[in-house]
Subunit: 310 residues, 2 copies
């Protein structure tokens, strides 16, 4: 069983408008509501790959209820979200049909109390006892200390469960010190963390600060992975166009499922790239196109990059 933790889960609401005109009134399409937040997306993809996936984190208020109902409706992912007094945030996406572009309005999320965090930790420890891996995903809601992910990483290490951290800013910086097995920053996040804009150098620096391995996602350029033993570059076989929403979460699911299945690094990276590309190609945001995934999987190029001696 794989755990994904989403401390700041969201109800994702998508509207379409014929054309977004600031400072005017729009009649919007029927809203599409999905359970959202990175960890929930990762869990959905893990389940689609045949893994038992459990989501935890927090849910509360009317939006939390809708989120849990929708999650139950999927029927593929186990819900271990911890109830809170606050209200689960909404993210609102407005798709401009004239250009295809999306304008996002993201709420900050509920305040999580110390007692709620303690209740979560108890459940998290119980889940770890039966887990083969854990992914810590996304932003922290207000009220949680920036060191919260570091605490969850230490718990996972104590339990002997491999842990992937996918976050940014101060929670990433603080999380590194607790020595996660893998982080998956994009280049922008990696640069903000290390001050370096050169992917291989920045990834090495992130390893020096505590990450056992770094899979840096470089958008259309694929993934650069720096591990203890080697450096790998994995590149999608074709230039893709489509909706990149959820592509990073699919890559996390690829890396994590590959780890649990004992794939080597090239195997894990090929899966991450193929899943990510199949997500960009899918018509609905955050879904992946299974036929595209299977077709792409054999064509992803993974090459070892000679390591600079330092």
């Amino acid at each position: 069983m794989i755990i994904t933790v989403t401390p700041n889960a969201a109800l994702d609401i998508t509207y379409r408008v014929p054309r977004l005109l600031p400072h005017t009134t729009h009649r919007v399409s029927e809203p599409v509501e999905r359970p959202g937040g990175k960890g929930l997306n990762v869990a959905r993809v893990l389940a689609a790959l045949g893994h038992e996936a459990v989501v935890t984190g927090f849910a509360g208020g009317p939006t939390g209820e809708v989120l849990r109902e929708r999650l139950a409706g999927l029927g593929t992912v186990r819900d271990a979200l911890v109830p809170i007094k606050g209200t689960t945030r909404r993210t609102i996406g407005v798709v401009d049909d004239a250009t295809g572009d999306t304008t996002m309005f993201n709420e900050a999320g509920p305040t999580v109390s110390a007692a709620e965090w303690a209740a979560f930790l108890t459940g998290y420890r119980e889940l770890l006892a039966g887990a083969s891996a854990v992914a810590l995903c996304g932003s922290l809601p207000p009220g949680l200390p920036v060191g919260s992910y570091a605490e969850l990483i230490r718990e996972a290490r104590t339990a002997g469960v491999p842990v992937l951290l996918d976050t940014s800013g101060e929670p990433l910086r603080r999380g590194l010190a607790a020595r996660p097995d893998l982080i998956k920053p994009n280049l922008d996040e990696l640069t903000r963390l290390t001050g370096s804009t050169e992917p291989a150098h920045a990834a090495e620096e992130a390893r020096r600060r505590g990450a056992r391995a770094v899979a840096a996602s470089l958008g259309a350029e694929g993934i650069l992975a720096v591990t203890e033993d080697a450096t790998w570059r994995a590149v999608p076989p074709d230039r893709l166009s489509g909706n990149p929403t959820g592509a990073g979460d699919s890559a996390v699911a690829g890396l994590l499922s590959g780890l649990v299945e004992g794939l080597d690094w090239p195997g894990r990276l090929a899966r991450a790239i193929a899943l990510s590309a199949a997500t960009v190609l899918a018509p609905a945001a955050g879904e992946f196109d299974r036929a595209a995934y299977e077709e792409l999987l054999g064509r992803v190029e993974v090459t070892a990059v000679p390591r600079a001696t330092s």
Copy 2:
């Protein structure tokens, strides 16, 4: 007791952003959620004026629940909304702090079934038995025939209860034929209805089509009222700047409360103008500034306009 009917009630959600930039991602302020829809706004103002106000219409789904909770929280307005299977719509307003302008995203609203409409009619008839006036407010949700307001007007007339209709488009056109006591279109709605851009002429034409009286709201120019006996023009004493949200609903509350209290037309119009202006001046959208209202009330100019012989 005054009834306000809001067939397409809404949960009004307001966000603030430092600056609205299309096709980017915004972190928004804490959402402000209010029970919305024209009739709910009218009822709140009526209650603030000391009238017993009952709101009816439809509410359903998670947003309907939040709306009813917020309404109960006000503690001033009686909730006679009819439960439905569909989900109450949201209206989302994004205030751009750089310019003060608002961008609106309005959902269409739930589909109301024939059985739900029948349940509503039963309750409406019961309410009419104890009512001194009724206001029919806003758009019709999907599923309701465009002639629905006409039916509600006929019921009110049968019960001997004066009825005000504040809607637009086809529901207004069809409603007129049922002979409401008063309509309150703005000039744009009146022009679409009659084809005439000249307020007095358009209002006369609307009377010819069935309205007993017409109070045409002309924005900063005030209100032009054409009744059976006279034509009046009421003008705000000062040029105002502020948020016009809800100003029209406050005018409806002024006209309706004045009618119930037996005020003459100049008295009703003075109240409508003063309430409307005090709503523009209030810091929060849709509220009114009571001190401003009382100060303005004595200074509204209402003049009789000589009627053109036709």
